[in-house]
Symmetry: C2
Subunit: 251 residues, 2 copies
């Protein structure tokens, strides 16, 4: 018996293998899978074989990589699908009027998950990535989502606020007052709180009365002119919110 606390069933082990890829993509050898998952060599081998057969993994020579099927399934996640489709034109508008990196994300737990991210040739060195997640408190999008979440699912005071840069807000009261300013202005700001040298301005996106997402523009700190960006961000968010209200919002 490997002293793994809860050994779990076959599915759990398969998920362990898939989650071994979290760090930064790439490819993994069988032995690396064994090391990261704690599974026995035999089990990892058999499970990986099964995952390959199902298309969740691909077996390239000595290496395993995440498979096509995952990409296809991931693209079907319903809320994301509809949201992205209707949001894209507005994000394009925003990009064209600012020519800066544009983000679009939704909330999941106490993170923002990025659904879309468009940029030109001069992409910033950002920790954000489509499908990636960052703490709500460290991003403009996160603040926009937090400030307008009606239900009090925001027990911020009980949580330890993470720190990504020296500028990250870690004091709950400081965050509270920042959120109040977001509520009155309808815009959320973030200055080097997620990555040094990068600042953001974000606006919430509503479907009816509830926030479902937020969009933002990220620029280099030295070029950060909120007054220049604010109108474009606001109009994009409003336009998208209107489209969502009129559109066929199934759920």
């Amino acid at each position: 018996m490997s002293r793994n606390s809860t050994t779990g069933n076959m599915l759990d082990k398969a998920a362990l293998i898939l989650d071994a890829y979290h760090p930064s993509g790439g490819e993994l050898r069988l032995s690396e899978l064994v090391a990261r998952t704690g599974l026995s060599k035999t089990t990892a081998f058999r499970l990986a074989g099964n995952l390959v057969r199902l298309g969740f993994l691909e077996h390239a020579g000595e290496h395993y990589r995440l498979g096509n099927h995952l990409f296809e399934l991931g693209s079907l996640v319903s809320r994301r699908l509809d949201l992205r489709e209707t949001a894209l034109p507005f994000l394009q508008d925003l990009y064209e009027s600012t020519r800066q990196t544009v983000h679009f994300g939704v909330r999941d737990g106490f993170d923002v998950v990025y659904v879309e991210r468009i940029h030109g040739h001069d992409s910033l060195a950002l920790p954000s990535r489509i499908g990636g997640r960052l703490p709500l408190s460290c991003t403009a999008i996160g603040k926009a989502l937090l400030a307008f979440c009606k239900e009090e699912t925001c027990d911020l005071d009980t949580r330890e606020l993470p720190r990504l840069t020296p500028y990250s807000i870690t004091d709950p009261v400081a965050l509270r007052t920042a959120l109040e300013q977001v509520q009155v202005s309808g815009l959320a700001y973030e200055e080097q709180e997620a990555a040094v040298g990068v600042s953001c301005i974000a606006a919430p996106v509503f479907a009816g009365a509830t926030v479902v997402a937020a969009l933002s523009v990220a620029v280099r700190q030295q070029q950060f002119r909120p007054a220049h960006l604010a109108p474009a961000v606001r109009t994009a968010a409003l336009g998208l919110s209107r489209a969502l209200r009129n559109g066929v919002t199934s759920a």
Copy 2:
């Protein structure tokens, strides 16, 4: 014993559940899952519970939907990740210069899988979708991929060519000659072969000497002016190919 030919193991059944969502996303009730998968009610219930616990499924009231975790994993599929990131700026350029729907796809088997698709407010009614797949023979991107696949993994003659519209090419020899024209011109065309009223022009993207993807522009049939679009498509593809050659191609 359910007369299911190969009963399969637990993983297969989990994959059955996930694949039940293929058609057009949305949400499914437990009974619908049972109907689509052929699993017993008990098994489906237990597996769905496991999948929910792992984040592959979400349980919203009476319904199950594909979960966040799938989206995140799908975004990690390595080749897609790098490819999309470097391709995006060039796709943006292409969109801005044409203001038409831009597609970006890779090959998988005898389908093209769409990695990116950007458009403005006037989106066409297209069967393409990010993460979705269409037959190679019915799309401009597919022809571009086929024409330059060096290895003879293209046993076109043995395959039945699918038909999406009355204009789809179903004759292997007709396809052959079309592909030869693609090889000499470096551009692939498609007129209403995937969707009535829509035509495309595509160009292959190379990493070194092998095609890795293709990009295209889709326009309404009545506006289809290949000569207008060709230069933009070609330059985008060449620029991206150059970026891929220079870029940090890990694998």
